[in-house]
């Protein structure tokens, strides 16, 4: 499957180019025309990304997350959810690299076979870095009033977490 994905992008490029030539498009000129926006878009994203990432970094460095985890642990054990998976659920929407770090840590302490790692990995695979995607996509078109996009994204993350817990218990125990 990984070998297949290696082929996908060259094939797409080949297809777009040959189709363009076939339709008598001035491919080079059009490419430049489109690519011109690339830099401007990246620059436009900067303030959105700075705002989002610095708030998340402060939160992570303050250690407040550990306190929140401690507060929520009794609530989770009430439902039989392993509390060790909670850091993943909290960090996954905030940072991609941070959640990779948490997963690596969980693997080291509990091993790949543990239900904790399975739940965390499933959560990792089934959701995205909501706040980052939000900053980049809305930043690219200069939208600050995001209405209910964040709520919907966080609801999806919560659903992904709960689904990961239920599905992993169902599959592996």
């Amino acid at each position: 499957m990984q070998h297949f994905t290696a082929l996908v992008i060259p094939l797409i490029i080949l297809f777009i180019l040959s189709h363009g030539l076939f339709k008598k498009v001035a491919v080079y000129e059009e490419f430049i025309e489109g690519a011109r926006e690339g830099f401007g878009t990246a620059v436009r994203i900067i303030p959105y990304l700075v705002a989002m990432l610095f708030a998340i970094a402060m939160f992570r460095a303050s250690g407040a997350m550990e306190a929140i985890i401690e507060l929520l642990t009794p609530l989770l054990s009430l439902f039989g959810i392993p509390a060790e998976t909670l850091p993943m659920a909290l960090i996954r929407p905030m940072t991609g690299s941070g959640s990779v770090g948490i997963l690596a840590e969980l693997i080291q302490t509990h091993g790949e076979d543990s239900i904790i790692v399975k739940i965390a990995a499933t959560m990792f695979g089934s959701t995205e870095t909501t706040l980052y995607v939000l900053a980049v996509y809305f930043g690219a078109v200069n939208i600050t009033k995001t209405r209910y996009a964040l709520q919907a994204g966080l609801i999806a993350d919560l659903a992904g977490y709960l689904a990961a817990v239920v599905i992993c218990f169902w599959f592996f125990s």
Partner: protein, 291 residues
Amino acid sequence: MLNKIWAGLIIISIVYAASLDITDEWTNHYDNGHIYSLDYTASSQPGFIQLDYLNTTIKAQLHSRANHSFILIATDQPLPDPWLKVAHHQPGSNKEQIQAEVITIQPQTHQLQLRLPEIHWVKIRAITQAAFDTAEFAVKLALGLAGIMALWLGLMQIAEKSGLVFSFVKLIRPLLHKLFPEIPRDHPALGSIGLNLAANVLGLGNAATPLGIKAMQHLQQLNTHKDRASNSMCMFLALNTSSVQLLPPVTLIALMGTQVSELILPIILATCCSTLAAVIAVKLYTRAGKL
């Protein structure tokens, strides 16, 4: 909501960090101002002495001055616990040595009294540093996107001019129309949304983001309030944040190795749940907005 969560993250961090630091002050966690009375012996190396602290011998460099003497203690040697804390948390970037103030020194009896640097506001300084570092990193991250974005936006421009996007729109219109009822039938937005979702499903991360941005630009053309997200944008964003990826991400394969194969089905099922939740949430919010 975004305003509250964003400000909440920052305010919680500062208040929590400050409360930890105040607790440290209260309990004098770092033994600030503590005066250590120690025996010492001269080392064979000129200028160096050996401190004797609770049966540990610590090598240090003595700088004698008329009004204030100090010693430098390298931190790459075994140090007692409170000293290690000081070494680790002292201000400034030089963590390789501790500069301790010598209060009295008696060469006849080989005794000296010293005071370690004071440590205050460890957490507050850590979060400030984190904020500055990340602000810098954010710019690098955004500029790193510029090249790959240019590449995909260039290719998309060709595909739009050649009519490829339009053919693709016709192909996936039946699929996307239910999710995005507000997009006109023949608008290229449907094409870029479809391409972004396809790239996501296949796990082509570095193609998905530029295509997603292209889709947002198309959606912005249809948006009546340019500073406010449209319903279609919220739907598109919810689909992207809930991840529609069917293959396990490359990082997960790297971390888990072959173990990942038994997680493929759970991940697909969980992804379906999170995406379904996202779609239902957006639809409910859209309906509530119309009432």
